[in-house]
Amino acid sequence: MARIQLQIYLEPSELEVFINLKTKDGSQKRRAATVDTGAQVSLLPKELMDSVEYRLTERSKIIIGQAGIAKQSFEAVEAFVTLFLEDQFGGRTQAFEARVWFAETDVILLGFDSILDRAVLHVDMPNRTGFLDFPQV
């Protein structure tokens, strides 16, 4: 089991975790991702398709209705990337494949598909601690 400590922000409250993405040249990119329990799938900036190793899903290009708001949608490329999560205390998951959406966005969001749905999320906001437990990763 891997336990990954989260970064806790206040005002506005937010949780962040460090992810490492495998790149096409065999190196890795370490980035901070927002833990988003409202995200079905993780979201990455489309620019990262230039460097991050990925394989397209069967659907590849998709249109997503944004959070149920009528007449608003965005286009994304759906793909699998290889990544692992880590923290500054040496906590680290194994590398695994996760489905993500590459889109025109300013943020990196960590969603449920392949990632949060494998984890136990613990958040203690009064004490400003939090972690993700991955029982099998």
């Binding site: 927002t34 900036p45 007449k71």
Partner: protein
């Protein structure tokens, strides 16, 4: 533009000595950074913003261009996406643009 002196990737298992302290610095200064730079990608090295851009590539090129012309070392900044955290994405806006 090539950025030979700015390295934002790492070999598997490698952790540069500035990484965690720079992420912690961003965490504690994020509100001020947001106010100063707005929504953008920033590169931070040893607790200083060394590159800013709309994309990672732009930020890397900005960092490279700021280095002295005779600079021969390689810096290993962290990459951080500064963005407004929207509290709600499910609220219907008062006006919606037709697509």
């Amino acid at each position: 533009m090539n950025t030979p002196h700015v390295k934002t990737t790492h070999a598997p298992g490698e952790i540069y000595d500035n990484v965690w302290s720079d992420f912690e610095w961003v965490r504690t200064h994020r509100a001020e950074l947001m106010q100063q730079y707005g929504t953008c990608v920033i590169l931070v090295y040893r607790e200083q913003v060394v590159g800013v851009g709309k994309t990672e590539k732009e930020a890397e090129e900005d960092a490279e261009s700021r280095l002295p012309s005779d600079f021969s070392e390689v810096i290993t900044p962290i990459t951080y996406y500064l963005a407004q955290r929207h509290p709600f994405l499910r609220v219907h806006p008062t006006s919606v643009k037709e697509e």
